[in-house]
């Protein structure tokens, strides 16, 4: 870790002025990822701006439109166990609880969850080439050990995946991200927040430097009757998804009125195909339809030496999770498969 100075902000405005649009100044909230990034020399900071004392963004509040606002500084654990979230957005609660470990969830914040960086081994090793860390140096993962890497939306420059579970549910729920910047407030749709790697894998998302996430809004529709989060991984806790699926259905008389399906662990951002979701509209919840929707979501998927299995696995996971969403009470701790 390099030496850095430390500043404490107690309002959003103070945080913005401490950052001052300077790329060398970084925000720390829960610190569960930036700590690693600093220790491994991935992120270099001249100044760390601690925003944990800001009180305006650390709660969950009801919105007039029937939705909910998640404070950016509210912790992942407090969010997952909040009675409103458990009751109205159980998909979000389950997804959060499938992530990291209890200790990390206690520290990690909602805003920080969006900002976490990939867990690609090569990204974390400064002695190997990586376009995300060192643009232009090459991608070690494409012809390296790529079991955990992307099958969708990747580029020849980067096949890293975005590691969050929470964000997969937020994507499925059509959340929006509220941002404060030196120019004022702005709102980004969740789908617009994270980016695909393309030619600039070093840029994870569309938050500009100097801006601060203040909260995340959930619309009223929470799919609390038919939802499921499924996470497939190499151990039952404290490991990242090889494939995860967040599914929400609105069903009337055995007909799907609305469907949301987002994938994690397969791309540089939570993966949603709106056309696929539309396909399920006014259809019956059958294996055949679930299989067809999986094919639509996975169209164009491409694997590598060690992650080819993810294409088939993702299809199976989508189908299973559709059935699990029909029986949400069957879900198991840790988002293990059920039924």
């Amino acid at each position: 870790m390099n030496n850095f100075s430390y500043a404490k902000a107690s309002t959003v405005d103070q945080a913005i002025s401490h950052i001052d649009g300077d790329i060398r100044n970084k925000i720390v909230a829960g610190g569960t990822n930036i700590n690693d990034l600093l220790r491994y020399f991935i992120t270099k900071a001249d100044k760390l701006v601690d925003i944990n004392s800001i009180t305006e963004n650390n709660s969950i509040i009801r919105l007039d439109n029937g939705g909910i606002r998640l404070g950016a500084l509210h912790t992942n654990a407090d969010t997952a166990y909040d009675p409103i979230i458990e009751e109205r957005y159980p998909l979000l609660s389950k997804a959060i609880l499938a992530g990291a470990s209890a200790q990390i969830r206690n520290m990690a914040t909602n805003g920080g969850n969006l900002m976490q960086r990939t867990r690609c081994y090569y990204f974390y090793d400064i002695n190997t080439p990586c376009n995300k860390r060192d643009p232009g140096s090459g991608c070690s993962a494409i012809s390296g050990y790529n079991r955990i890497h992307a099958i969708l939306g990747q580029s020849e420059n980067c096949i890293a995946v975005f590691p969050s579970d929470m964000c997969v549910a937020l994507a499925a729920l059509n959340a929006t991200v509220n941002i404060s910047s030196p120019e004022g407030e702005r709102v980004l749709a969740f789908a617009e927040f994270h980016r695909l790697p393309a030619d600039t894998p070093n840029i994870d998302n569309n938050l500009k430097h100097g801006e601060v996430i203040t909260s995340i809004d959930l619309p009223a529709q929470g799919f609390e009757k038919n939802y499921s989060y499924l996470k497939l991984r190499d151990r039952s806790s404290y490991s990242f998804a090889l494939v995860s699926v967040a599914t929400g259905f609105e069903i009337e008389n055995n007909v799907i009125k609305e469907a949301r399906i987002a994938l994690g662990g397969v791309a540089h951002k939570p993966w949603r195909i709106l056309e696929a979701e539309d396909f399920l509209k006014d259809k019956q919840p059958t294996r055949e339809n679930f299989s067809a929707v999986a094919d639509l979501i996975l169209r164009g998927a491409k694997g590598y030496e060690h992650n080819m299995f993810k294409i088939d696995l993702a299809k199976r996971a989508i189908i299973r999770n559709c059935f699990m969403a029909l029986n949400p009470e069957s879900q198991r701790p840790g988002a293990k498969p059920s039924l």
Partner: protein
């Protein structure tokens, strides 16, 4: 008056409270005046030379005392043998900072010493290194054409090479009624005990050191330091009071010991060097191994032909070997065998013993092959083992000193409910899940070496026992106290077992499951000798009621010596001590196996393991729902600590089978997942119902306590039992480790 034995009681760990409350001190936690802290810098290339190492900026930082590199390393011993420790394989021991040559990725190349750990670590990044890189090879599979016979050395004593071929394997195999063959491979497994390696050296003036080291052998570390740095043995005291797990990693001195001692001697200061988690991946490991197995059997299931070949990784400087291919014929008495073990030297650090080294590797291949044979013969897998059961180790033609493996099979099968198994693969289901039952056998050596122990009775009638042996978390302290308690007839709270100090009587490194069988008899012998001294003094008391008694006629209990057939006649220990003018009574004794008879029988500990898995039919996710292990290991001194040993082994077996995977990128020659987030071991949610049975086994041939070791046996049978259960569930025979769920899609 009956003597209540302590042996056989589930006594809780005597140091348990200290450990769970955080009061137990480990090697890296000892305080010292003006302590300096060292941080090791590791090579970022795999092979080549250091062209330039520039420490100017690091040294210029305030608080940095010195930076040691190959350029300014103080001189140390010249000859290779002076670096050899008790577990050194044949070859040339790695010498830290010897010269500018890089032999493997992560090799220590510098030590920064500073006034704080943080400053040392910070200064480390200011060191600039320029390398001249050379071509390297780290991939076992693409280098099997380099495979050769291992060199022999002292290590061959406990790790015998494969027995010579017997009969005619090829002919017997070709003529067999059924044949089974398989190719097996597993990758490197890394040592990750909870406590990372650390050494605190107290400089006591005039080249005299007191060293707190994480080790499995205080005398091993003492000898290494004395030899390498040219110190007198009596001026080097090594203490290792608490060891937070070691599992073989502490059988050899690790490089932080060298570094800390070097810095302390040179700076004449107290120095601590601790490794971080990533550095735990820069020394010995379980070697990746390729195995080839062919078994042939007759129509009754009798195995008559065994071929087992292993090709293991080693470094370019030492020939690390383990016993991989010898086990099949120790269990199954085939007349025709062909057993081979080869090594491929690669640009890695030397492999190192890890729990059941070789045994867990070889038995994985052997017991999967037996399961496959059972299917080909349409014979129940347990039945097939019973058909091939032998009271004799066919590989040496020696009878086992004891072997209650049959009881293990039967008791574990009963507890598990093996009779509910439908042998047809894929036939048992639970909802969406395929259910599989699998079983396997485990075997490990029951060895014993030489050890000494001292018993001292102080004027208050309490007894202190001393031994240099460590307690690596296995319960040694508790068990040795129990052994002394029974021999002396004293309650355990009147006995102090002092240990893990090189100044105490000799004990070998704590490994190979031989500690209780080695140190236990020495403790018993010292206690018996103490009793004899007490008895002699008792007889000499004026008008002694025991004056005519022989030692065989008395028993020791609760501070008295009683005449066995007339307990009214007794003398109190207090009286004896008073007659001894309050002086302490002490004795030091040596205990070792009788070389004339010890080799005449085969000695082993056995286990039978039964496992139930659930496999998600569509998604492949594997869960080990239940496992039962029955162990025949002679007398169990403490069922509680013993059960912990077996449970730990079983959990590691699950880890090794389903979770642990080193990611070695051969383009860079390095492990890419050198941390516990990405190098997976199981979490609580991966572990379900585990049961342990100790079957009755009487064996006073192995030693006079009747104990065999249990440190390794818990892991041995788990990987094949899980793989066999997965086959039963899915019909898929997976030969490699780890078994990731996507292999079942």
């Amino acid at each position: 008056m009956t003597k209540l034995p302590s042996i056989g009681k589930p006594v809780s760990r005597l140091e348990g409270r200290l450990k769970v409350t955080g009061s137990a001190k480990y090697a890296g936690e000892y305080e010292a005046a003006d302590l300096l802290y060292g941080y090791v810098v590791n090579s970022t290339i795999t092979k080549g030379k250091i062209a330039v190492i520039d420490t100017t900026d690091a040294k210029a930082l305030e608080g940095v005392i010195e930076v040691f590199t190959h350029e300014n390393r103080p001189s140390t011993a010249w000859f290779d043998f002076q670096y050899a420790d008790m577990d050194a394989p044949p070859g040339t021991v790695f010498k830290p900072l010897k010269d500018n040559e890089i032999k493997y990725n992560g090799q220590p190349i510098a030590l920064v010493v500073a006034e704080t750990f943080e400053m040392a670590r910070y200064a480390a990044i200011k060191i600039k290194v320029a390398y001249i890189e050379e071509e390297f090879e780290t991939d076992l599979e693409s280098n099997i054409n380099q495979a050769r016979d291992p060199k022999k050395g002292l290590a061959s004593m406990l790790k015998p090479p494969p027995p010579k071929p017997k009969g005619n394997f090829e002919e017997a195999y070709q003529n067999s009624f059924v044949r089974s063959s398989g190719e097996f491979k597993h990758g490197t497994e890394h040592h990750n005990p909870m406590e990372m390696f650390a050494t605190t050296v107290l400089y006591e003036g005039k080249n005299k050191l007191k060293i707190y080291d994480k080790t499995q052998g205080t005398i091993n570390s003492q000898m290494y330091v004395a030899n390498v740095f040219g110190l007198k043995m009596k001026n080097v005291q090594v203490i290792a009071p608490s060891v937070g797990g070691a599992f073989g990693s502490g059988l050899r001195p690790q490089y932080q010991l060298f570094m800390a001692v070097m810095a302390s001697l040179h700076l004449k200061r107290n120095v601590r060097v601790t490794l971080d988690r990533a550095q735990m991946y820069t020394f010995g490991h379980r070697p990746p191994t390729l195995q080839s197995v062919k078994f042939g059997a007759d129509e009754n299931g009798k195995v008559n032909a065994i071929f087992h070949k292993a090709i293991g990784e080693t470094s370019q400087f030492e020939d690390y070997v383990e016993v991989v291919v010898n086990w099949a014929n120790m269990l199954y008495p085939a007349e025709n065998t062909l057993l081979e073990h080869k090594l491929v030297p690669l640009d890695v650090y030397s492999p190192l013993d890890m729990r059941a080294p070789g045994g867990s590797t070889g038995m994985h291949a052997i017991e999967i092959t037996m399961d496959d044979l059972a299917y080909r013969l349409n014979i129940d897998p347990v039945e097939l083992r019973l058909i091939n059961y032998s009271e004799t180790d066919k590989s040496s033609d020696k009878k086992y000193s004891s072997k209650e493996l049959k009881k293990c099979y039967l008791q574990a099968a009963e507890k598990f409910g093996w009779n509910k198994r439908n042998p047809e693969p894929g036939s048992m289901k639970r909802g969406n899940k395929l259910v599989g039952y699998g079983m396997a056998t485990g075997i490990w050596d029951a060895n014993r070496l030489l050890a000494r122990a001292q018993a001292i009775m102080t004027s208050d009638g309490k007894v202190e026992i001393k031994s240099a042996v460590t307690d690596i978390g296995t319960g040694t302290l508790t068990i040795m106290t129990q052994i002394a308690s029974d021999e002396l007839g004293l309650p355990i709270d009147e006995i102090t077992f002092s240990y893990a100090d090189s100044a105490m009587p000799f004990a070998p490194i704590q490994g190979g499951s031989f500690t209780v069988a080695t140190v236990g008899p020495a403790v018993k012998a010292a206690c018996k000798a103490l009793n004899k001294k007490l008895f002699k003094k008792a007889k000499n008391i004026q008008d002694s009621v025991l004056s005519a008694a022989r030692f065989e006629d008395v028993i020791f209990n609760e501070g008295f010596i009683f005449l066995k057939n007339n307990p009214e006649l007794k003398i109190s220990v207090a009286e004896i001590l008073e007659a001894n003018d309050g002086k302490e009574i002490k004795t030091t004794n040596t205990s070792m196996p009788n070389p004339l008879v010890y080799g005449k029988k085969a000695r082993a500990v056995h286990s039978a393991v039964f496992v139930e898995v659930e496999v998600d039919q569509e998604l492949g996710i594997i869960e080990v729902k239940r496992a039962v292990t029955a162990v025949a290991a002679g007398k169990i001194i403490n069922p509680k600590t013993a059960e912990s040993q077996i449970l730990g082994g079983m959990i590691w077996g699950i880890s090794k089978t389903l979770h642990e995977e080193r990611i070695l990128d051969n383009r860079f020659g390095k492990y890419m997942n050198a941390n516990l987030a990405e190098y997976h071991i199981p979490v609580h949610a991966d572990i379900h119902e585990l049961d342990v049975i100790f079957v009755e086994e009487e064996d006073y041939f192995v030693n006079d306590l009747g104990v065999k070791g249990i440190g390794e046996i818990g892991i041995v049978g788990m990987p094949p039992a899980i793989a066999n259960a997965i086959f039963h569930a899915t019909g898929k025979r997976i030969y490699d480790l780890p078994i990731h769920f996507d292999k079942l899609l």
